[in-house]
Structure formats: structure tokens, C-alpha cells
């Protein structure tokens, strides 16, 4: 085949140029550490890499979410611990104050401490997160949730919304709890509560109260009225007498599935109120107890009332502590869930990064040996170009 002189030069040039292009590509790969320089290098792998980058970034985002949730729950837990501590102290004080050896002065002292605890509890329940939101206000987190109402009773101004934070696609954790948990502590035995009237003159007290027939429950309030020291009648919510009976200390009085056992010596006209589904708040429990200790306890009726209020407060405090413990357990479980998810996320990130690296990262050993090979090829192309182009018959014509 004839080869023209121009062709000789062109061939040499083309060879050098294509070697240079290859070399520059390898150089770029080595400089960036990436096998894929543009999506066209491997469209399928690039699309996959794009997805992987996206997922890794998602997991990072979920990590940030989890941190936020953990911070919030950590704050919540700290507050719950302090509330539980306060309630435990209230329990001690209730036991202490109910003790017959207490003088009115020492009871006043206990009452003062209880009043302080009550203020502390209110502050704790109104705790704010680092960003200024109230922890126990539900969705209404910018309004102070616990505020004294017109009668001095603490009311709840929040709602029972519960914020959720996404830890992983479709996996959410609840942060924050509604403050209603502090407001709805069932009184008495959990179904109904029996309270002696404050004006009672006798020493009659509630020894026991239980549900013996759940199906007979009506949910209506009743009042046991002592018509004589040894006789009673039961009024319903409308003041209509629904039953009468003879009173024997320690013997149960049955009303609509509920059994109330009274003992002591009630006076005629004494009343015992039966309130089904009655609830109270942690603040009311403490305030009521303080009020009980502040009240005079000189007459037998007053003393009986004091004893009753102290014992029923004990029950209520136990329920309140139980409620707070439930919340803490729940918060702890959610924190565990966050930790678990963090582990899963860390594993996933590691795994995804590994896959990503396989897809888009450069095998340096291979690239470096390719680089040297291409370098040698370029040098060879240059040398042959020079040598071939030097050949000319004209050099030999004299």
C-alpha cells in the first residue's frame, strides 16, 4: 500500500493524540480518585451512585433527626426524674404527716414543704426545651401549659398532640408527651373514689372501696348519707334515694357494682361521696394534702377526715408516681429505639459507602499500572514519530 508523506505525519500525530487523551483521562482519575468521571463513563453505575449518595445523605439527615429527638427525650426524662423525686418526697411527707404523733405545728411545717414542692412541680411541668418550647404542652408548645385557674386550681392549656420525628423511612418516634398525663390521675381505686364530706362530725372513715361487679357499673355519682349513727341511705346524682340500710362498721355497702366499706363511728348527717371516674392532677394531690395538714384536726370528725385525706393522698401519690414511671419507661424505650436506629443507620452507612466506593472509586493499583503503560505507549509513539519523520530519500541525494 502506498503511504503518502502527509499520511505518515497524520498517523504519527493521531497515535500521539489518542495516547495523550488516554493518559489525561487516567491522570484525571488518579487526581480525583474516581473511576467514573462523568455519567457517560458508566451510565448505569452512575445512576446507582446517584441513588447511593442520596440514601447516604438521607441517613445523615435521619441521624440529625435522631439527635434532635434524643435531646428532647433526654430533657423530658430529666424533668420526669425530678417530678418522680418530688412525688416520692410527697409520699414520705404524707406518711409522716398522717402520723398521730404530729403536733399542729409540725404538720404546718410539713404543709409548708408540700406547698413548696407544689410550686416546684408546677415549674417542672412547665419546663421548656432548649428551643424555648414547653415540653409537656402537646402541639400548643409555645403557650405555658400549666396555669392556675380562677379558683387556684392548676389547669392544662395544652392539647394531647404528640410530635413525631422520622428516624428512618416510615419509622417515627414520638417526642414530647401531653401534659394531660399529669392531669388525669385516677383517684381512689381507679374506678371510683369515696370521699368523706368535709363537714362530717363522726369518726367514720372509708376502710375499703372496690368494684365487685363491673357489669353493674353505671358511671353515676352517689352519696351515702348517715340518717342515724347506725343507718344510711344512698342518694343518686339527682338526690333521689335509691337504697337504705343499717350501718355496721366494717361491713360493705353495695351500690351499682361498687362496694364501700366504712368503719369507725359516723355521726348522723355525715356524708360520703362516691365519684366514679374521678381524676386529679399531681398538683391537686399535693395541694390537697397540704390543705389537709393545714386544716385544724381537733374534733374527731376533723381527725378522721385528716386520716382519710392523708391515706387517700398516699393512694393518689402512688398512682401519680406510677404514671410518671410509665412515662419514664416509655421515654426510655423511645430512646432505646433511637439508639437502635442509630446502630442500624451506622451499619447501613458503612455498607452503602462500601458499595458506593466499589462503584465509583478508583482501583489505584490498576490505575497506576495503566498510567505507566500509557506513558510508555506515548513515549513510544513520540519516538517512532521522530524517527519515521526523519527518514527521507532527499537526505541521501547529493
Amino acid at each position: 500500500m502506498r503511504i503518502s508523506t502527509a499520511q505518515i505525519y497524520r498517523n504519527g500525530l493521531t497515535a500521539m493524540q489518542s495516547r495523550q487523551t488516554e493518559l489525561s483521562r487516567t491522570q484525571q482519575q488518579l487526581a480525583t480518585g474516581k473511576r467514573l468521571l462523568t455519567p457517560a463513563d458508566d451510565p448505569a453505575a452512575s445512576a446507582q451512585a446517584l441513588k447511593l449518595h442520596e440514601r447516604i445523605a438521607s441517613i445523615e439527615q435521619y441521624g440529625r433527626n435522631a439527635e434532635q429527638a434524643a435531646t428532647w427525650l433526654g430533657q423530658e426524662e430529666a424533668v420526669l426524674v425530678s417530678i418522680a423525686d418530688s412525688l416520692n418526697r410527697v409520699r414520705e411527707l404524707a406518711v409522716q404527716g398522717a402520723n398521730a404523733t404530729q403536733t399542729p405545728e409540725s404538720r404546718q411545717a410539713i404543709a409548708r414543704e408540700l406547698r413548696q414542692i407544689s410550686v416546684g412541680l408546677l415549674d417542672a411541668a412547665n419546663s421548656r426545651a432548649a428551643n424555648g418550647e414547653y415540653l409537656f404542652a402537646g402541639f400548643r408548645s409555645t403557650n405555658q401549659p400549666f396555669q392556675p385557674g380562677p379558683g387556684g386550681q392548676i389547669g392544662y392549656a395544652g392539647d394531647d398532640g404528640q410530635r413525631e420525628i422520622e428516624l428512618a423511612p416510615g419509622r417515627k418516634v414520638a417526642v414530647g408527651d401531653s401534659g394531660r398525663a399529669f392531669m388525669t390521675i385516677p383517684r381512689g381505686n381507679g374506678v371510683f373514689a369515696v370521699t368523706p364530706d368535709a363537714a362530717n362530725a363522726g369518726t367514720g372513715r372509708v376502710a375499703d372501696a372496690e368494684v365487685f361487679d363491673r357489669s353493674a357499673l353505671t358511671g353515676e355519682p352517689y352519696t351515702i348519707v348517715m340518717t342515724a349513727p347506725d343507718a344510711y341511705e344512698i342518694l343518686d346524682g339527682d338526690g333521689v334515694v335509691v337504697a337504705t340500710g343499717a350501718y355496721t362498721a366494717g361491713q360493705g355497702i353495695d351500690i351499682a357494682g361498687m362496694r364501700v366499706v366504712l368503719d369507725g363511728e359516723p355521726a348522723a348527717g355525715d356524708r360520703f361521696h362516691i365519684e366514679p371516674g374521678a381524676t386529679t392532677s399531681i398538683f391537686a394531690i399535693v395541694d390537697d394534702l397540704a390543705a389537709a395538714f393545714e386544716a385544724p384536726a381537733t374534733t374527731p370528725g376533723e381527725r378522721a377526715l385528716l386520716t382519710h385525706r392523708a391515706t387517700s393522698a398516699l393512694l393518689d401519690v402512688d398512682r401519680a408516681i406510677g404514671r410518671v414511671l410509665e412515662l419514664r419507661t416509655d421515654v426510655g424505650a423511645r430512646m432505646n429505639m433511637i439508639d437502635d436506629q442509630a446502630d442500624v443507620n451506622a451499619d447501613q452507612t458503612l455498607h452503602l459507602n462500601g458499595t458506593l466506593s466499589q462503584i465509583e472509586d478508583l482501583d489505584y493499583a490498576e490505575a497506576i499500572s495503566r498510567f505507566s503503560m500509557q506513558l510508555a505507549a506515548l513515549q513510544a509513539a513520540q519516538q517512532t514519530y521522530v524517527q519515521v519523520s526523519r527518514l527521507s530519500l532527499f537526505d541521501w541525494l547529493k
Binding site: 503518502s4 508523506t5 455519567p39 442520596e54 440529625r64 402541639f139 400548643r140 398532640g161 422520622e166 530519500l393
Partner: protein, 629 residues
């Protein structure tokens, strides 16, 4: 007698001289683009004398031949066309590929950052800073769409600029060929039919340069002129006349060009006939690479804006108001074609964002109806009678406002063009709607085990949406607003009323109530933000098959595949072009060593011829001396 020898000697001398000249010309043109080597054609002169002792009369130069193989040249032209086409396509594909696939400047990181900001609002809905950050990230995302579209637009402008420049060059080349035709015909006349080799080379070279721009067909005429046809037999050069090609903007878009020529004052559009070559590639780059990429970006932008807005509108902001549109963008554009007789414009709106296709559409009146053509794949997707309306690919097209349509009238619909017009409509951080407008809760006195597991807003425009309403469980059924809803056996009962939906799980006790209340004031509610965040991975596009990220990854992959194919094609064509060049050089190229050898040969012939003349001289001298003696 001696005259014969002299004559022979001189003829040899002249022939050698001519050979030396031709060799010298070859050597001189070793670097001339398109030069074909030439050869002096020699022939023995006819002998004189009687037949039994005919003596040759020396040598004559009968011509200078240009060594070409028309078939090889034709193949070379074809290869040049194919190579230029693939190279240009690969170049544009590479550009789009780089700008979309870049890890930093592509859409993916902007999308990610935007949804990260949504998550941050969900994590801390009362934070003004997080809300402000969301607005800012939304603006960045809108900017990113605009930047990407602007860079695609840059490529369009580059393509149309190069089409205009290319046409200028084509016209110049055509003009040049026409002029050379005249020169060649003249030269042949003057030279008595001898081919003007160097003019022919020049003309071949012009044809080759023309072949770079578009595929050419040539036909040599008997007078030596060359007719050049482009496209499907469009005459570009006939004899001494060249047609001037011109570009005209379509639909008022300076970068959307129709190519044609003027004939009798009418513009004949031949765009569709021009395929291949640099020009064909530049036209293709727009229709096959840039427009689809831009339409897909637009589709992602619209889907994002529409779906995000829909959720945002069903949410409630910090002031207790329902959210407005988060993003705003220009409505789909309908551009009338040039020379339309119709007045008015079609009303186009998006009715189902999930069904949108990444394409522009053309409406063309065929005399009875407007035929709707999807430009991305060229498919006719419907036809609308004048004054009628239709829903096509999620687009509502209403022609009620279009009157007086004549056959050939057209409109260009660009439903997915608003990538550049996307912006954030929300200015005040408090107006970012991160809460739900209603709150549902079980009543305080409920004794059953039923709980509320889901609340969502179906129709934020329902006037009763935020009315306080109780769902009561009476007689074994949930009753809302007097309408009974039986419990679902699956355990989860869906209750819908007043534009909301509440999902209740479990079985309530008789008399249990679930309250639905206005949620105004619930600053800490993040359910709306969570619903917005969920859009990141929701398959909202392509009829529920792809998330925004998926759609973008799909675009990147498609462009990647296109680019890869274009690069491979370009490589293949480059190699085939190389081969065609080698073949042409094989036939027509100058080899200096060969010329050196020819030089030596001619030089020696010249010396020998001179020797013949010297010998003849000596013969005469010898004779004269003999006579003198």
C-alpha cells in the same frame, strides 16, 4: 536525419523537463490540503518512414493526469459527514452530561438540601430560623433549576449560533463550488478539453468541506461542472448557480430554527430533510438532547412545585391560617406559529401533574382539527376540533379562544418550560405551614380501646374543615354529623367528613367520642412538615412510578447513555474516517520519497536526453570536418 535525432533528443529533454516540473509541483504541494498527486503522461510519438523501417520520433507529453479515484473520494465525503455528525452530537451530549451529572452543581444535592430543611422544620416547628432556612433552601432549589435550565439554554444558543455560522459557511462553499464550476468549464474550453487538475482538486476540497456540514450528493456534468445536492435531493449548486440557505426563528424563539431557502418570495422549509452532518447534528442536539433534558427538568420542577403546594395548602401556618402555595411558577405557555391566520391562544393548564410527559407539544390545524403532536417522540397523541377542548397527558387544552384557523396554523405548547420561572411564594417564615389545621383526639371519658392513628386533610377548601365536630360511637357505629360509619373489620376505620379524614383503630365502647377540633395555636404541631418531608421519597411522578430524585437520576442515566453512545459512535466514525483518508492518501497523496525517486529518474532522463543532443551535435561536427578536409 540529424533533425530526427535532435528532434528525439529535444522531445526527451522536454518530456524530462515536464516530468521534473510535475514532480516539483507534487513536492511543492506536499502540504496542500486536498491536493492530488499528478503524473505527466508520456507517449512515444508516432514513427515516420516506411512501415518496414519505422523510426520513432521521440516522446511526447500527452497530458498531466490527476490521480484520483472518484469512488474513494465519494466514500471519504460520506465518512466526513458521518464523523462530523457524531463528533458534534458527542460534544453536546458531553456538555449536557457534565452539567446534569456534576455531583455539586446537579439537581440532586439541591433537592437533598431542600428536603433536609423540611426535616429541620419538622424537628423544630416553632423555630423561625428553621423556617427561614426552608424558604432560603427553597429559593436555592428554584435557582438550581433556573441555573441548569440556563446552562441548557446556553447550549441551545451555542447550537443555533453554530447553525447560523454553519449556514454562512455552507452558502460560501456553495458559492465557491459554483464559481469553480465556471472556472473549470472555462479552463476546459481553453485547454481543449484538458482537465484543470488543480481547480478540480480545489473543488473536491470544497465539496469535502461541505460534506462536513451536511450529506452531499454530487453529479458531474459533461461540461465538467458539478451539481451538488443536499438532504433529499435539494439542489444546492446547479452549474454556475448556488442556492442560499437561510435560518428562520420558529415560534418567536431565536434558538429554534427552521432552515430553508427563498423561492419566488416564499420560504421553503427543508429542516426535516436535513439529516446528518454537523448541521443535522446541531438540529438533533436540540430536539434529541437539549429539549428533552430541559423538558424533564421542567417536569420535575412542576411536579415538585404542584405536589409540594398541594400538601402545603392543606397545612396550617404559625398564625393558624391555611398554607398558601409554597412555590409559584409561570403557567404553561402556548406560542403561536409564524404566519398563523388564527387569532387567540389556546388555554393550557395542568390537571394531573403525575401524568405529565417531559415534552413540548405542537398543535397543527389540518383543515378539520388541530392535531396534537408530542415533540419528544413525534407521536400524534390526539386531535381537537376548533373551539373544542381535551385533556392530553395531564394537560387540559382548551381551544375556545382560537378562531379563524387556517390549514397549517400551529401553536407550540411548552407545559414543562417553567424550570426557570420557579420561585418561592412564601416570604414570611411564619407562613411556612408545618401544622395540620385540625386536631383529633379521643374524648376524656372514653372507656374503649380505640385510638386515633391518622389525621389528614383531603380538601383544604372545604368551608367546614375546621368546624368542631364529634365522632360518636353509638349503636355499634361511628356517627359523624348524623352519618353512620360502620366499623371496618380490618380494625382501622376511616371516617371522612368536612374535607378531613380520621383513621380510628380498635373498637370503641358505646358512648365514646372522638373530637375533631380546629388546631389554631398549635405551634408545636409538625405533622404538616412530616407530610411535606414524605414527598421526598413519594412516587409522585410518571403516574406514580418515580420520586423527584428517581426522575432526575433517570434523566442523568438517559443522558449518560446517550453520551456514551455518541462517544462510541464518534470513535467508530473517527476510525472509519481515518481509514477513508488513508485510502484517499493511498491513491492521491504525495509521497516525498517517491517524488525523490521520480526526481532522480527524470534528472537522469534529462541528462541522457542532453547526451542524445550532444551526440547528434558531435555527429554533425564529424560530418562537417570530413567535408572541410
Amino acid at each position: 536525419m540529424s533533425g530526427g535525432i535532435f528532434g528525439i533528443g529535444i522531445s526527451a529533454l522536454l518530456a524530462a523537463q515536464r516530468q521534473l516540473e510535475v514532480t516539483g509541483h507534487n513536492i511543492a504541494n506536499v502540504g496542500t490540503e486536498g491536493y492530488s498527486r499528478q503524473r505527466a503522461e508520456l507517449a512515444a510519438r508516432e514513427p515516420l518512414g516506411p512501415g518496414y523501417a519505422a523510426i520513432g520520433r521521440g516522446v511526447g507529453v500527452i497530458g498531466v493526469e490527476r490521480i484520483v479515484d472518484q469512488f474513494v473520494n465519494f466514500r471519504l465525503e460520506m465518512r466526513i459527514t458521518a464523523d462530523a455528525e457524531q463528533r458534534t452530537l458527542a460534544e453536546f451530549a458531553g456538555q449536557v452530561n457534565n452539567l446534569l451529572g456534576d455531583a455539586e452543581s446537579g439537581l440532586a444535592p439541591a433537592l437533598k438540601d431542600f428536603f433536609a430543611a423540611v426535616h429541620d422544620v419538622a424537628n423544630d416547628p416553632t423555630s423561625t430560623a428553621a423556617r427561614q432556612a426552608l424558604i432560603t433552601q427553597g429559593e436555592s432549589l428554584a435557582d438550581r433549576f433556573a441555573q441548569l435550565e440556563a446552562r441548557i439554554q446556553d447550549q441551545r444558543a451555542i447550537a443555533s449560533g453554530r447553525i447560523r455560522a454553519g449556514l454562512a459557511e455552507i452558502n460560501q462553499l456553495a458559492e465557491g463550488i459554483a464559481e469553480l464550476n465556471r472556472a473549470i468549464v472555462d479552463a476546459r474550453g481553453r485547454g481543449g478539453g484538458a482537465p484543470p487538475n488543480d481547480l478540480l482538486d480545489k473543488r473536491d476540497e470544497l465539496v469535502r468541506r461541505l460534506a462536513e456540514h451536511l450529506p452531499v450528493d454530487t453529479a458531474e456534468q459533461t461540461d465538467g461542472s458539478l451539481n451538488v445536492y443536499v438532504g433529499r435531493g435539494q439542489a444546492l449548486v446547479v452549474g454556475f448557480d448556488a442556492t442560499t440557505l437561510a435560518a428562520r426563528p420558529l415560534y418567536g424563539d431565536p434558538d429554534r430554527l427552521a432552515i430553508g431557502y427563498e423561492q419566488n418570495g416564499r420560504f421553503i422549509d427543508v429542516t426535516s430533510l436535513l439529516q446528518g452532518g454537523k448541521l443535522g447534528a446541531l438540529l438533533d442536539a436540540r430536539t434529541k438532547l437539549l429539549d428533552p433534558a430541559s423538558a424533564e427538568l421542567g417536569r420535575i420542577a412542576i411536579s415538585l412545585a404542584e405536589t409540594f403546594n398541594a400538601v402545603h395548602r392543606a397545612n396550617m401556618d404559625l398564625d393558624g391560617e391555611l398554607g398558601g402555595d409554597f412555590f409559584s411558577f409561570a403557567p404553561p405557555a402556548a406560542v403561536p406559529g409564524q404566519g398563523n391566520s388564527a387569532t387567540g391562544s389556546p388555554q393550557v393548564s395542568i390537571v394531573d401533574v403525575g401524568e405529565l410527559a417531559a415534552s413540548d407539544y405542537q398543535l397543527r390545524f389540518d383543515g378539520t382539527a388541530f392535531v396534537v403532536r408530542r415533540l419528544a417522540d413525534g407521536a400524534a397523541v390526539g386531535s381537537i376540533p376548533p373551539g373544542g377542548s381535551a385533556v392530553i397527558d395531564g394537560l387540559s387544552i382548551d381551544l375556545a379562544g382560537v378562531t379563524g384557523a387556517a390549514t397549517g396554523d400551529s401553536f407550540l405548547l411548552r407545559p414543562t418550560s417553567p424550570a426557570t420561572t420557579l420561585s418561592v411564594a412564601v416570604q414570611d417564615p411564619r407562613s411556612v405551614a408545618a401544622a395540620l389545621p385540625i386536631h383529633a383526639a379521643p374524648g376524656d371519658g372514653n372507656s374503649g380501646a380505640a385510638e386515633i392513628v391518622g389525621v389528614s386533610v383531603l380538601d383544604p377548601t372545604d368551608p367546614a374543615l375546621r368546624d368542631a365536630i364529634d365522632i360518636e360511637f353509638v349503636g355499634g357505629e361511628l356517627v359523624v354529623d348524623g352519618t353512620p360509619v360502620p366499623l371496618d373489620p380490618s380494625g382501622e376505620t376511616v371516617v371522612e367528613a368536612n374535607g378531613w379524614r380520621v383513621v380510628i383503630r380498635g373498637v370503641p365502647e358505646e358512648g365514646d367520642v372522638f373530637t375533631v377540633r380546629d388546631n389554631a395555636g398549635a405551634a408545636g404541631d409538625n405533622r404538616g412538615a412530616l407530610a411535606l418531608a414524605a414527598l421526598e421519597t413519594a412516587r409522585t411522578m410518571g403516574g406514580g412510578t418515580a420520586s423527584y430524585g428517581d426522575a432526575y437520576a433517570g434523566l442523568v442515566a438517559r443522558v449518560g447513555v446517550e453520551t456514551r453512545r455518541a462517544e462510541i459512535n464518534a470513535d467508530v466514525q473517527a476510525r472509519m474516517l481515518e481509514e477513508a483518508w488513508a485510502q484517499r492518501e493511498n491513491v492521491s497523496g504525495v509521497n516525498l520519497d517517491e517524488e525523490a525517486a521520480n526526481l532522480v529518474k527524470a534528472q537522469q532522463a534529462y541528462a541522457a536526453a542532453a547526451q542524445v543532443i550532444a551526440t547528434a551535435g558531435q555527429m554533425i561536427d564529424t560530418l562537417l570536418q570530413a567535408v572541410r578536409r
